[in-house]
């Protein structure tokens, strides 16, 4: 039988605020344990949570970016459970009335586009951290993270393969970083994913029983965990069994998922409205204010790059991977005032390659957009060849000088004087009679040898088009 996977993702995005969602404690990562956990975060009696305006603003920003309904009135609820890293015995979350309603996100996969529904996004507080190293048989608790604002973004079960799930996750990651609402750091847990997975016979409309895979924190592991889980469920069903609705953990070392909680212990969270917090009311003015702060979104910029600059979809996708990269590319195009495809190639190949090798991000690039544009102008106007430009680029990377200065200093200006090139070609033909004879006898592969000789003699400065044309003429011409 052919099976169809049905996948929905719940993604926890840590919002980029300075202070916590309900207290004035710092959210900075990496502080000594428990130095950023105040009385409110610890759930001390007599404290009152007060909602952080920035957390609301960032949630609304996300909602507008995915064209979702923004709830004019939403409610905070208590999700009750006991765990040592949850000091109050409940997590403040939103249940029936979340701040962000239905929206959508478009993913690109293998040249196809697909719109993925977003069911909702709600504000909640994060829990602390349990440290399971042995403290004389006890567990250590660090509550610095308790009360950090999270936006939990729930997708519709619209994803049909592990690849689609990862494409959606990456797209969402790109968006929240682009919007500046999350730092996107997955190692530090700023972007975490739970996956709901089920399978059904292809063509069947009803959903199969789903399992939830908890806390998978890399794109690669999400793909593998979902793949494993799909195969496991199919094996169970094909051998006549039934899938049990349960929470499973992905074990990356063994590349498998394992049940985490048994059915008997299934949680009953007993949600109810938090009496400490009044309903969150969001005004039209507030929403419009946030709307005005929205940058051009990645999807819009991707389409514009294709239309305005004639880029291939793949190139437009690469160049809009981050807002910083796309800003850089546009600055280069604007200042170089030459073929955008030349700019795209240089940003994607030479610059990105050099940044990768150096382990730098685009905003740390030693060569800024202005200087790269200066270099590309010299390729466009024929002052230097593309090959020499690579040398100049390396010199720019190391020296901080601009392209014109380096071309002048190093004498790298292209030789376009046909007479000078002809003279060099004549010398080379004279010095290599054997190769000339072989070429003329039909061994045309040797053409490259002659080009190489000319380039060597001119330190690569001869104009390649002229060299090709003149060489061809001279090699054919003589007898």
């Amino acid at each position: 039988m052919e099976w169809e996977p049905v996948i929905g993702l719940e993604i926890h995005v840590q919002l980029l605020t300075r202070s916590k969602i309900f207290s004035g404690a710092s959210t900075a990562y990496g502080a000594p344990p428990n130095t950023q956990a105040c009385a409110i975060d610890l759930g001390m009696p007599g404290t009152l949570p007060v909602l952080n305006e920035a957390a609301v603003r960032l949630a609304v920003k996300f909602g507008l970016a995915v064209e979702a309904e923004i709830a004019r009135r939403s409610v905070f609820a208590r999700k009750n459970y006991f765990y040592p890293d949850l000091p109050k015995g409940y997590q403040i979350s939103q249940y029936e009335l979340p701040v962000v309603g239905k929206g959508h996100l478009t993913i690109h996969l293998d040249g196809r586009e697909k719109r993925i529904g977003i069911t909702r996004a709600h504000l909640e507080e994060d829990a602390g951290k349990s440290l399971h190293e042995d403290f004389h048989g006890l567990t250590g608790i660090d509550l610095n993270r308790a009360g950090t604002p999270l936006l939990e973004i729930v997708s519709e079960p619209d994803l049909r393969s592990p690849e689609e799930a990862v494409a959606y996750m990456k797209k969402l990651h790109q968006l929240v970083v682009w919007l500046g609402i999350c730092d996107g750091n997955m190692q530090e847990g700023s972007f975490r994913c739970d996956a709901n997975v089920s399978v059904r016979p292809l063509g069947e409309r009803a959903f199969g029983t789903r399992t939830e895979i908890k806390n998978v924190n890399s794109f690669r592991f999400v793909e593998r965990a979902i793949q494993f889980e799909i195969e496991r469920q199919i094996r169970v069903l094909e051998s006549g069994g039934t899938v049990v609705q349960e929470t499973r953990l992905y074990d990356a070392d063994r590349d498998e998922t394992r049940p985490m909680r048994t059915k008997e212990e299934a949680f009953d969270y007993r949600y109810f409205p938090d009496p400490d917090l009044l309903p969150l009311v969001i005004s039209e003015d507030f929403i419009e204010e946030v709307r005005r702060e929205l940058p051009e979104l990645p999807e819009a910029r991707y389409r514009r790059f294709i239309e305005q600059y004639g880029l291939k979809p793949y190139d437009a996708e690469v160049l809009t991977a981050t807002r910083a990269l796309s800003d850089y590319f546009e600055a280069v195009v604007r200042q170089a005032a030459c073929d955008p495809k030349l700019c795209a190639n240089w940003v994607m190949v030479e610059l990105s390659g050099a940044l990768n090798r150096a382990g730098l991000e685009i905003d740390q690039s030693p060569v800024d957009a202005d200087r790269l544009a200066g270099l590309l102008r010299r390729i466009a106007d024929g002052t230097i060849s593309g090959k020499i430009a690579k040398q100049v680029f390396e010199l720019m990377w190391d020296s901080g000088k601009d392209a014109d200065t380096l071309i002048e200093e190093k004498g790298l200006k292209q030789i376009t004087d046909a007479g000078a090139i002809e003279k060099i070609i004549d010398e080379i033909i004279a010095a290599n009679p054997k190769q000339v004879a072989q070429y003329r006898a039909g061994k045309e592969k040797l053409f490259g040898f002659f080009v190489g000789q000319v380039m060597k003699a001119t330190q690569g400065k001869a104009n390649p088009q002229q060299v090709n044309a003149l060489l061809k003429e001279k090699l054919q011409g003589g007898g």
Binding site: A39, N52, A55, N80, P84, L138, G140, I141, L278
Partner: protein, 95 residues
């Protein structure tokens, strides 16, 4: 509305309250009476009445995103039963 003994035991378990069998039977009776008392509300016609999330008919006030709390770790650690290296210690969570 009559609760069952099982439901009462489950509620006690979820709240991590240890109750004996004798108590459980008494709570089953008492809690059921409380629910019956509240159930009188079911008779009230609430058509056209918007449910409230809070007895106060006010919106939530928002706080500016500023760090206003100082580190008071030592004071909090001082009232915890077990601490080490700035951490609160609790019985082992996982095997």
């Amino acid at each position: 509305m009559a609760l069952t003994l099982e439901q009462v035991k489950q509620i006690a378990y979820l709240a991590r309250i240890g109750i004996g069998d004798e108590d459980a039977a008494r709570y089953t009776h008492d809690l059921s009476s409380i629910l019956d008392f509240v159930a009188q509300m079911d008779a009230v016609d609430t058509t056209d009445i918007e449910p409230m999330a809070h007895p106060l008919d006010l919106p939530q006030r928002l706080r500016p995103d500023e760090v206003t709390e100082e580190n008071q770790r030592e004071k909090f650690l001082a009232i915890a039963p077990a601490v080490e290296n700035g951490l609160y210690l609790v019985p082992k969570v996982i095997e």
